[in-house]
């Protein structure tokens, strides 16, 4: 028995919107329904007619459309550009930080002129020893002076 529902099914069948089971059902229905087949043929004829009546836009119109709206090639997308720019800024800041002149440590400033002061202290020590007449072995004094001079050299290199 033909009904509008069958025609709806014919439309869905033709548009490919029925699943496999639905298609099989409709094909079985169609086999026993001349009106269904006639309606389906009308749908197909409408489609053929519409296809034959298709118009083509003027080539100049298509060219104008392409000229005005054709996408321009994008070398880099905006996120890539932003990422590269950020990386460059960070790298520049890091290079500037690492390449700056090393500051002279304030706590080593006192070592300036240390050698002269050590030499003066040695002379003063010898003078005191002589004035006291102490039996100070000169070798002991020399050892002390050597130690002081070594310390001065070390601090001088660090400074």
């Amino acid at each position: 028995m033909h009904s509008p529902e069958h025609e709806d099914l014919a439309l869905l069948f033709e548009s490919g919107e029925l699943d496999e089971a639905g298609r099989a059902d409709f094909e079985r229905t169609m086999a026993g329904c001349a009106e269904c087949r006639a309606f389906l043929e009308s749908v197909r004829a409408c489609h053929r007619l519409s296809t034959s009546a298709r118009l083509t836009p003027r080539p100049e119109l298509d060219e104008a459309v392409l000229e005005s709206g054709s996408p321009r090639p994008r070398l880099l997308d905006p996120w890539t550009v932003a990422g590269v720019a950020s990386s460059l800024v960070l790298a520049g800041a890091l290079i500037a930080f690492l390449g700056r002149p090393a500051p002279r440590p304030a706590d080593l400033a006192w070592s300036s002129g240390l050698e002269e002061r050590v030499a003066a202290a040695g002379e003063e020590l010898e003078a005191i020893s002589e004035s006291l007449g102490a039996e100070t072995e000169s070798g002991d004094i020399d050892d002390d002076l050597d130690a002081l001079e070594s310390a001065a050299e070390i601090f001088g290199e660090q400074g």
Partner: protein
């Protein structure tokens, strides 16, 4: 065609001008046919055609492929044509049945005659002239449904979404349109 179309759209979205050209070539005739029939005016169809592609181009970078570009394209065309028709009261439109050339030749007759117009259209046949007269007489919703299906290639689910109506309504509109055009179609095949 849809698979190829989707690939073209993806390439165009990446900025490939050649893909854009191929896309216009692939979808252009369907789109132009739809707009010409929908707006009943060659001039308006050309304006709309350019505008639709411009909108597509603007939206392409954010276009997310959900399987079918064509329904998206024709939904844009459908909405634009609605806007144009609603604001067209002061504008001269040319019906398929109104004379558009010297000598009283109608657009439908010219399309059906096989005679190339100044726009060098690929012309239909006499049967289309008869069918288009029937199409002209359809209620607007039936006509829209028919055009979206036949020129736009939209499924009925897509037509229902584009026209914001239930699926059954879209099917009923198409059913009536087909039945009313049946005589013209059958005459063509007689």
């Amino acid at each position: 065609m849809d698979d190829n179309g989707e690939e073209l759209v993806k390439r165009a979205a990446r900025g490939d001008p050649e893909a854009y050209r191929d896309m216009v070539t692939l979808y252009g005739p369907r789109l132009f046919s739809y707009l010409a029939a929908r707006l009943r005016s060659r001039e308006a169809a050309e304006d709309a055609y350019a505008e639709v592609w411009l909108r597509v181009w603007k939206a392409l970078p954010s276009y997310e492929s959900r399987g079918r570009f064509q329904p998206w394209l024709f939904t844009i065309a459908h909405r634009l044509s609605l806007d144009m028709l609603s604001s067209e009261s002061g504008r001269k439109s040319v019906s398929l049945d109104e004379p558009v050339e010297d000598g009283g030749v109608t657009l439908a007759e010219r399309v059906g005659s096989g005679e190339p117009g100044p726009e060098r259209e690929v012309l239909g046949r006499q049967e289309w002239a008869r069918a288009s007269a029937v199409l002209e007489g359809l209620p607007e919703e039936q006509r829209q449904t028919f055009l979206l299906r036949e020129f736009g290639g939209l499924s009925f689910s897509e037509i229902a979404r584009a026209m914001d109506c239930p699926l059954n309504t879209a099917l009923a509109r198409m059913r009536y349109a087909v039945l009313k055009m049946r005589s013209a179609v059958e005459e063509h095949h007689a």
